[in-house]
Symmetry: C2
Subunit: 338 residues, 2 copies
Amino acid sequence: MKRRPPVSIKTVAERAGVSPATVSNVLNAKPSVAPELIERVRSVVAELGYVTDSNASRLRSGKHSLAGVVVPDLSNPMFGTFVSTLETLAREDGFDLLVVSAANDVEQEKERLHAIRSWRPAGLIVIPCDGALSDRTPPSMHMPIVVVDRLPDEPDFDLIAVNNAQSAAAISAHLSEQGYRSCTVAGSMLSISNIRERWEGAASAAGDMTLSMVEVGLEAKGIRRRLHETLTQRRPEALFALDHITGLIAYQTMTDLGLSAPGDLAFACFDEAEWMRLVRPAITTVRQPIEEMATAAWQQLSRRMGGNADPVRTLRLACSVEVRGSTLREGGRSSTAA
Amino acid sequence: MKRRPPVSIKTVAERAGVSPATVSNVLNAKPSVAPELIERVRSVVAELGYVTDSNASRLRSGKHSLAGVVVPDLSNPMFGTFVSTLETLAREDGFDLLVVSAANDVEQEKERLHAIRSWRPAGLIVIPCDGALSDRTPPSMHMPIVVVDRLPDEPDFDLIAVNNAQSAAAISAHLSEQGYRSCTVAGSMLSISNIRERWEGAASAAGDMTLSMVEVGLEAKGIRRRLHETLTQRRPEALFALDHITGLIAYQTMTDLGLSAPGDLAFACFDEAEWMRLVRPAITTVRQPIEEMATAAWQQLSRRMGGNADPVRTLRLACSVEVRGSTLREGGRSSTAA
DNA sequence: AGCTTTTCATAAAACGTTTTACGGGAGGCT
DNA sequence: AGCCTCCCGTAAAACGTTTTATGAAAAGCT
């Protein structure tokens, strides 16, 4: 725990008997430095373990190498995977990532969105808690922003999302086709655009299956209560959870009540987690292409940071619908469709 | 996408008709600024949406408000939860977090550990890929570092970990007590300290149950192959997975082979994930206190960043052992113990 | 009024870089 | 020899802040 004086470019310069400018030139591989000096500087850098201060560098050169990522909740493995993928891509382009998670709280999201500006990132990738993003991005925030997964209220941003409506419709159609006559659709909140889109999609393809929607909120306790009510009071023939958390708690609640799929009721979930393939019977799901979303988001942000000023663009990726035992009426075989 | 000129403290100063120094004084709540000026500056700041540049601020003041976090893999929900918890704590203390994940790769970890220095964080919290951390932290890296979860090779760092050996011993003892005569213990790699500790703990309490260890590696394909071999060639009476990934793939493999616990063999896992309570029978696990680890890590780092120079300290937290159906011989009831 | 003290705003320096502009020396040409 | 390039290294300015030192005006005192 020695308190050595910090080593700066000056320290290196002195020790190598050159000027700071020369050290800078060596480190940034500028032409016109004598080979001998390059060598000398390099060795001093290695010896001292000197690393350029990115902040000072950015300050002078204006070249940023930091990008910000805002997700609703890092403890959700979907977002973890998203960030993880993003990070690999960013590093390839020489960027570091400042990651903040908003704990599913709109207030915190606002605060973090503000705080992150103080680091002057070159751009932002945001999965907003809900749609009201423009409130939280003052006009003075003039850096490229790519929004992912959830539609912002105003179409001022590039957007990467999935085809929520079609995918939900596929599940709905499948359930109807299997002969279920009633289905409860459960999702956190309709104010979140992807939940809304999924509900609308499901509704559009229900055929003569009667559909009802229940909003369960974001907090575990409340979700559990609402689902318990739903399953005990007038149990539907099918249950379709519109997001991961709701699906998880729905399955727990079913288990607690001694209900199993598809015997007591069919069960499907938008968003796929590992365990959904592990339980028996396995659960019918819609799997989102997380890695592809991350890749598309980074590419788009990359372009924007590079100065591209094309009109704002929306990209919808396709999910895969995985039909498994939890929704099959008879002992039919599971299949996969787009 | 307008390219406004960036707004700096000077812009604010001009517009408010004061000097930059005054603006700084207002923003940092220094005494001796006339109330009227405070008001004037505040309103211009709000109007322009000005946010202090943390980098420039740090450069001059030497006060850092950034801390680094290095985890092996963000797509692992345990680490996601860890980072998420950490972030809340950090924000409370006015810190932002630079999060990097090493994709379980020692080379990448080294590279990131190097790269992160360029941001001059005030301190680092690291969950290393393996033990050989000191290679990767050159002496010139003189900032406080708290290591979490895995012992570094040299005890130069503060450490927060769990009582791996005792907890694994508890599982081992439980299995032995239930009358299983042979148990295969599967873990990624013994070179990772917590896996090693768990194996040693398990071995210490096996009683007359014969134990054998199989190292499966970190990569899904290899893990699957090794476990498949183990379960088909000379199937033990019990299987104890020493980490989350191994546990997940072990369970998948069992399912694929049509084996179920505890009938065909008992199954237990170190590390608990949601699904382990959802499958039937539920799985016996050791649950690590992730949030507590994060809290302890931040507290310790906080102290160090505050200048505390006490001798390096190791903290071991207790896990809870959750005995469930997957290891119970008879139709016994599940119980919980420390 | 004349003095001291207090109050409060500012100019300028500094932080660690990169960049621009300059200059000294070596070599090539007439 | 004189001149013009070219090569290569450096001094100094600049980036956006905070801090230190300075000084002007206001207030308090006899």
